[in-house]
């Protein structure tokens, strides 16, 4: 287990190597360094995991590296902290991350920014590993901002296009709103508890604060704000669909499998704070359910294949937040893991389709691809099945666990009903994706020319297996850390049957709506009201429109008002006054002796008059 420090170090080394060589290395070497460093990190994680499993799931291992700062009793140290939860995250990051890196070596081949791309990706993996291995909230925050930076750099990777730069800035600014809330939360925790060491904070919190105290609620809500921003939940979700401007492997790694789920990890990591605050837990449920439903409806009407997947990611993370809220902690982490498998698979398959069609992303211009692109089709089919939670796929186990746990929570039947309804919509849009892209009438897109190579095919196969069988992984290690003690599969009764049947119902409905009765559906939604609703959902429920009016326009109006620097007026006036005084004094200084004398005499006379007048 002593090799723990190697895991984040290897991607960092990869990043530094690629950075200092400035893209002068041949592409083969870049691919070896870029993907290899992450692969080696995964290899380094293997003996650590073996040690860990030998010592039992409750093991905690902390490896102090050095003290970061030591100032007046505040000494955050860089310590790697490994428990069941971070172990699961390490595997998601290095394992899925390696597969995506491998895929990217093929996908990005020939790009002029090949080396830059892998440098950023490696930096991302390093930052994400620091995030999940941090023992101190400040170090966690370092990783947190690091992944945000990489997200910004990679969304704007194709920076020749101004729209991509705009999307990158939007992602950066919107997540920064959440990060500010999180920073405030950390300040509050430090002021109240005097430490940011996670374990100390949690134990101090439970002894210091009574249940539902205001301070702990505020702290939990502020941290939730950070999680909401990073994980693209309501009301800070608007950046994620635009973030699809980045290369597809980036969408798979950062905006599906790892970074966007950091919020879920954070909440699970500081779960004691949320356990102390019923209000914060209700907020989790509210945010999760609202996002889940909103994003699922938005995904149902998108035309761009990557935007469908983006909204779907948002919606699935909504499930995780919902699960955290109802107290199904390990189900949330379980879903995080299975989601990483199947969503990465979906994105990579979509990437293969997009590449084969020469960068066509409109699903209605695809159509009928199943025979001509068999491997992406298989990958997408497996991914969509897991996303829809069809029985015995990985998504089925995790989503079932969440739904059944929600039914057991207080007031649970309503929560269960709402979440199941959203699961129905999920199955519906998954079916739409498959039927339109692979079985629809052949579209106008050029191709397909299967441009994929073995580097791209391998990860698809492995991820397909994981998306199918990932549900069989016991999730004992994280469960030992979390308060609910694990995922139970054994719920019986009608509820379990209904929960299992909902996805089937959704897929059946999708088959009818988007394949069998395609024309009838088209006629049905061509009405004015349906079209308005479609546009509304396609624009993501108009949040961009709303925020443009609420924040952007007042701000730009204010900036326009202040173009001449209103706040500078007092200073400018002072300067003008001084300049006038200077002019007067300078005019008096005209060099004429007689003028000086006359003034002197006049002054003297004035003085005399005053003195004599006073006497």
């Amino acid at each position: 287990m002593e090799a723990l420090w190697l895991i984040p170090l290897l991607p960092l080394l990869g990043f530094v190597t690629l950075l200092v060589t400035e893209g002068r290395l041949p592409a083969v070497l870049v691919a070896m360094i870029g993907a290899g460093s992450v692969g080696l990190a995964a290899l380094a994680a293997a003996p650590v995991t073996l040690d860990f499993l030998q010592q039992g799931p409750g093991t905690v291992f902390a490896q102090p590296l050095w003290v970061w700062i030591d100032v007046a009793g505040f000494s955050p140290d860089i310590t790697l902290y490994l428990d069941g939860l971070s172990l699961a995250m390490v595997w998601v990051i290095t394992g899925v991350g390696f597969l995506i890196h491998l895929y990217a070596t093929g996908y990005m081949a020939g790009d002029p920014g090949y080396s830059r791309f892998f440098a950023y990706m490696n930096l991302f993996v390093f930052a994400m590993l620091m995030l999940v291995l941090a023992d101190d909230l400040l170090v966690l925050y370092l990783g947190w901002e690091g992944v945000g930076l990489c997200s910004y750099l990679l969304i704007g990777f194709f920076h020749d296009e101004p729209a991509n730069g705009y999307a990158a800035r939007k992602a950066f600014v919107v997540t920064r709103v959440g990060d500010t809330a999180m920073a405030l939360g950390l300040f509050l925790l430090f002021r109240e508890l005097g430490t940011l060491d996670i374990q100390s904070v949690l134990s101090a919190a439970t002894t210091t604060w009574p249940d539902g105290s205001t301070t702990v609620t505020v702290a939990a809500l502020l941290i939730l704000g950070g999680a909401v921003g990073k994980s693209a939940q309501l009301p800070l979700q608007t950046w994620l669909p635009d973030a699809m401007a980045g290369p597809t492997p980036v969408s798979a790694l950062i905006h599906a499998a790892t970074m966007v789920t950091a919020g879920v990890y954070l909440v699970a990591r500081v779960h004691d704070l949320f356990l102390l605050s019923p209000l914060a837990q209700s907020a989790l449920i509210g945010v999760g359910l609202a996002t889940l439903f909103m994003a699922a409806c938005a995904a149902l009407v998108q035309r761009d294949i990557k935007r469908i997947l983006a909204y779907s990611t948002m919606s699935q993370i909504g499930y995780m937040f919902f699960a955290l809220g109802v107290g199904a902690w390990s189900a949330a982490v379980f879903h995080l893991m299975t989601h990483a498998f199947f969503k990465a698979l979906l994105f990579l398959s979509a990437g293969s389709v997009i590449l084969a069609l020469h960068h066509e992303q409109d699903i209605f211009r695809m159509g009928g691809l199943w025979r001509r692109l068999p491997l992406p089709f298989a990958g997408m089919l497996v991914g969509a099945a897991a996303l829809a939670a069809l029985p015995f796929t990985s998504g089925f186990y995790s989503k079932d666990a969440i739904l059944l746990a929600s039914a057991a929570a207080p007031g649970g039947l309503w929560l269960w009903a709402a979440a199941s309804l959203a699961a129905l919509v999920t199955a519906l849009y998954s079916a739409r994706l498959i039927f339109v892209v692979f079985f629809g009438p052949p579209g106008s897109a050029a191709g397909p020319d299967d441009g994929s190579n073995n580097a791209m095919r391998g990860p698809l196969v492995v991820l397909s297996l994981l998306a199918l069988g990932g549900g069989w992984f016991g999730l004992a290690p994280p469960a030992a850390v979390l308060p609910d003690g694990g995922v139970s599969h054994g719920h019986g009764g009608w509820l379990a049957w209904v929960t299992g049947a909902v996805p089937l119902l959704g897929v059946g409905l999708g088959y009818l709506l988007f394949y069998r009765w395609r024309e009838r559906t088209a006629a049905l939604v061509s009405g004015a009201a349906a079209q308005t609703l479609r546009r509304f959902w396609q624009a993501g429920w108009g949040f961009d429109w709303l925020y443009a009016r609420l924040f952007e326009q007042p701000f730009t109006a204010l900036a326009r008002l202040n173009r001449r620097d209103v706040v500078d007026v007092p200073f400018v006036l002072t300067a003008a006054l001084l300049r006038i005084g200077h002019q007067l004094a300078a005019d008096g200084q005209n060099g004429r002796l007689r003028w000086y004398l006359a003034n002197m005499a006049a002054g003297l006379a004035l003085l005399l008059i005053i003195v004599l007048g006073a006497a």
């Binding site: 008096g588 200084q589 005209n590 004429r592 002796l593 007689r594 006359a598």
Partner: protein, 104 residues
């Protein structure tokens, strides 16, 4: 020595008149020589006032002050004549307004 003494007011009025005549000369004349002559008049006006006041109160201070003024006037003339020559040499005129290079 009990002659008819001149009243102090008369002497003071004369001194003031002389002083004002000198001041007016300083202010209106531009030629440096006339300026210096006007200055002499003003200083003599002061001297007259000191003498008269000293005689009025029977104090020696007034006469001492007059001697100081005399010495001052002599020194002033010596310096001023030197300046005058320099001015004539550099500017080619004795116009005091021509020497206004120190204007702000």
């Amino acid at each position: 020595m009990n002659a008819v003494s001149i009243p102090l007011e008369h002497v003071m009025a004369l001194a003031a008149t002389l002083f004002l005549i000198g001041l007016a000369g300083v202010l209106v004349r531009r030629n440096l020589i006339f300026l210096l002559m006007s200055l002499e008049i003003m200083m003599n006006a002061c001297g007259l006032a000191f003498i008269a006041a000293g005689a009025r109160w029977g104090a020696a201070d007034g006469q001492i002050m007059y001697m100081l003024i005399l010495a001052l006037a002599a020194a002033e003339v010596a310096v001023a004549l030197g300046l005058l020559l320099q001015l004539e040499r550099r500017l080619g005129s004795l116009d005091i307004d021509a020497a206004s290079e120190l204007r702000g």
